[in-house]
Point group: C2
Chain length 188, copies 2
């Protein structure tokens, strides 16, 4: 079983070491982790003339198509939501109909995080809806992130695993990730 490991982990100072750590956990559970920066077995020669960002995007898409499941690091990234590249990949795999899992090193729900992010710009209308400084509504479904993310995970047969981790360990702690791996491995 091959599992694509989506997340902003590729932006860490030593992304290859991070990828190795994630893959080691997968191996302990008898599955193969695929990190976005892994080379493709065979890369179409015509990609050589594309700009680097397009080659990376096509490589990641190919990795996802070749995987049996996806585990996404949904820990909030530079705002109340997960990294958009990660969520793109989660949506991509969901369309392929395979299981998608998510994990996060915060247990705060999306509404709480968005309110914290907006601070005094968030205000509650008489009907109970929270709105930001541009009058745009905040989701209030008790989800971990935008409802498309939570909805895809549950509909696909995956699960969300969350832990409340201190900020200093937010990009190192992997307990919630490992629970996703164990559950994905259980689907074999």
């Amino acid at each position: 079983m091959r599992i694509y490991l989506a997340g902003p982990d590729v932006f860490l100072p030593d992304p290859l070491a991070r990828g190795a750590a994630l893959k080691a956990i997968c191996a302990r559970h008898g599955v193969e982790g695929v990190f976005p920066m892994d080379p493709l077995a065979a890369e179409p020669p015509e990609w050589a003339r594309l700009p680097e960002f397009q080659r990376i995007a096509l490589r990641n898409e190919a990795h996802i198509r070749a995987a049996d499941a996806l585990i996404a690091n949904l820990t909030p990234f530079r705002g109340p939501s997960a990294d958009v590249g990660t969520v793109f990949e989660l949506g991509f795999m969901r369309a392929l109909g395979r299981p998608v899992f998510g994990w996060s090193n915060t247990t705060l729900d999306f509404l709480s995080r968005t309110r914290a992010h907006l601070g005094r710009l968030a205000a509650q209308a008489p009907d109970g809806t929270w709105r930001d400084g541009e009058a745009m509504a905040l989701e209030r479904f008790g989800c971990l992130d935008n409802l498309m993310v939570d909805g895809a995970v549950f509909a696909s047969g995956g699960s969300l695993e969350v832990d409340e981790v201190p900020a200093a360990a937010r990009w190192t702690e992997l307990a919630a990730f490992e629970r996703c791996v164990a559950k994905a491995a259980g689907l074999r």
Copy 2:
């Protein structure tokens, strides 16, 4: 030709009026716009027992599957990136192999916006890489958003349309959207 209209427009104070405005532009170009809040022709009866957020997610997925192309409002939403629900849907459609388009009411590239968002937390390393306060790298490919977004649009045969619009008109101006509609209609 049916075009799914992804975007945080659903969070506006009058989302149905917004949907009607987007669809009117589509109709002028001879295509049919599908707004996320549109009802499905037939909704499986078993969805009735699901929580509301799951029903909405499944309905949006069904709308995307039934569409020929997708146009995403990528105007930055509560941070340097587009709304993650929108990007999920863009990834979903990309996996289906159909054209995806994006538009934004800012012309600033992703690196510039992320640096502005981070302020003094962004610092440039000797190798030229920008990193945030957690030492995580900023993308520097000159893209509009995360490279998965730009990569998908170009690989799918779609395009990105951007205008620099004053903040007060960011959620009303539709010129860049209309250029996407015209280009999508040209693919018929």
